[in-house]
Symmetry: C2
Subunit: 310 residues, 2 copies
């Protein structure tokens, strides 16, 4: 297995990525190769400082880099030799099984849609974990790729989220819920009300109805569906709670589950390849977790199962 | 000042409301009268058990009651003599200055729109408090009255929220922010992107741009604007955090601010009268807080200032 990793992505790149890659290289399975993509002049010196570089870590030069604040579409289409573009080329040509980056989220999404879009899926989604108070977690999608979603798109998120959950956790019929403002079918906004009707009739998902904001951490469902506007606000709000509690020195197993360093990143689901977008502030620990998550996803064969369903 | 209070509203009504009304009666200003509206056969016996009923608490009979789970529109239009209908009649006829209920939220909203809608405002909004980590709080609207909002409606929420904040806290130019998924103007869903443009040009509000989910508890703005779908999910999620932390015995001044018992309820803004909707699970303490909030709002003359602005 080969996993490409964007050395130029993230607020602390390339150093944090290089160090994270080295951590990951010693923890991945023996046959897994990590390909670090970046600008030779800045990444190579960092690698050369290290003694005993792992054998399963190789470097690939990409002459350009996309900045965190650059306009995603412009940057991706104009910088054809950026580390993000090179990563997607490798993925498209099946030279790697996965591509991870803590870089420009917009450019990563544009790259996914341009390079490895799946037939039959209206839009890919970004997925995130939502811990449960009783242990374990649900997954939520979309958390930021699509701010306005048609009901059919929300339904598809339920389908692809189900595949992810089934493949990764061996649960035959993951429970799918629609995030809304009341449990009743007629509660919600126009898109979610119509999505409810579609999902109720959809035999490919085990739809359990609406879930409210107050129940997100309960064990009511496994897959939460919402548009990327709502999902992004929820995830960022959860992140702020984690930060506030950390500052107040309150540690607790439930809240520790919100630690992005351990989660590693957010998979992009509904594309022809495994892609994970890391947090902009990723440190080496977070980079390592991202690579390990990519490895698990490839092993669970999630993307090809999603292809089958669509 | 006269404040009407729905004795039949809430999961623990009428007992919790009767007890809350008695608590409130001893804390309101001397010239404030509380009018408890409910079914004589159930409320009167509770009042008769009390010794030394406060003079400023009077009872008014309403032969019908709207249940918490009843269909709001049907219930409000068919039960013309329910406590909610009677409360709105009093408010419409200016026999009371405020009406409070912890009852059926939908019926309370329908009642507001049917009885005391304001000319020039597309839709009233439900407002909620959002505590800040450094102390104090912002207000957020809408948190549940309108699941789909036009950009113009979002803009109006910014205007009426500004009036509320200015009147209640003597801040000349409250900072207004739009809840979104990024700080930049072009971030957001279709409605919020257009609302951004409108609000930026609106001289009646001090617009400070978008605010993300991770910044809601920071001191970036005073008035948060969003549609009722997003706002409801945020508020209920915040409530669940409060509950989880309470269960874990973590007490902290910041998190205590999320205690609905102390807040009392959510004002409905943009109607011709002061209306507060309490939490369904309101206990006597919450009922008391709701009445005291109504008193503050009437004294600050918020509704007529909103009328002026529109």
């Amino acid at each position: 297995m080969k996993i490409a990793l964007d050395a130029m992505g993230g607020d602390f790149a390339p150093l944090a990525v290089v160090n994270g890659a080295i951590l990951a290289a010693s923890e991945v399975e023996p046959n897994t190769q990590i390909i670090l993509i970046g600008q030779e002049e800045v990444v190579k010196p960092l690698l050369e400082q290290k003694v005993n570089l792992p054998d399963n870590l190789e470097f690939m030069h990409a002459p350009e880099a996309i900045g965190m604040a650059e306009h995603p579409l412009k940057a991706f289409t104009q910088k054809k030799y950026s580390s993000i573009s090179v990563g997607y080329s490798l993925l498209k040509d099946k030279k790697v099984e996965a591509f991870c980056s803590a870089g420009n989220t917009g450019a990563m999404l544009i790259g996914a849609v341009y390079s490895i879009k799946l037939e039959g899926l209206s839009r890919p989604a970004i997925m995130s974990y939502v811990p449960k108070t009783k242990g374990g977690h649900a997954i939520m999608l979309d958390v930021g790729a699509n701010t306005d979603c048609k009901p059919e798109t929300l339904q598809q998120f339920g389908e692809i989220g189900s595949v992810f959950f089934r493949q990764l956790y061996q649960i035959e019929k993951p429970r799918v819920a629609l995030i809304s403002v009341g449990e009743e079918e007629e509660k919600g906004n126009l898109a979610s009300q119509t999505a409810y009707k579609l999902m109720k009739e959809n035999s490919r998902i085990n739809f359990v109805g609406n879930i409210e904001g107050r129940d997100l951490f309960k064990d009511i469902a496994d897959v939460y569906v919402c548009d990327g506007f709502v999902g992004n606000i929820i995830i960022k709000m959860a992140e702020s709670y984690y930060e506030i509690l950390k500052k107040k020195n309150f540690t607790d197993p439930f809240f520790d589950n919100f630690n992005f360093e351990l989660i590693g990143g957010s998979p992009v689901l509904g594309i022809d390849g495994t892609v994970i977008i890391g947090h902009g502030i990723s440190n080496p620990q977070a980079i390592k977790s991202m690579v390990l998550l990519a490895q698990r996803m490839v092993k669970a064969d999630i993307q090809s199962k999603i292809k089958e369903v669509l």
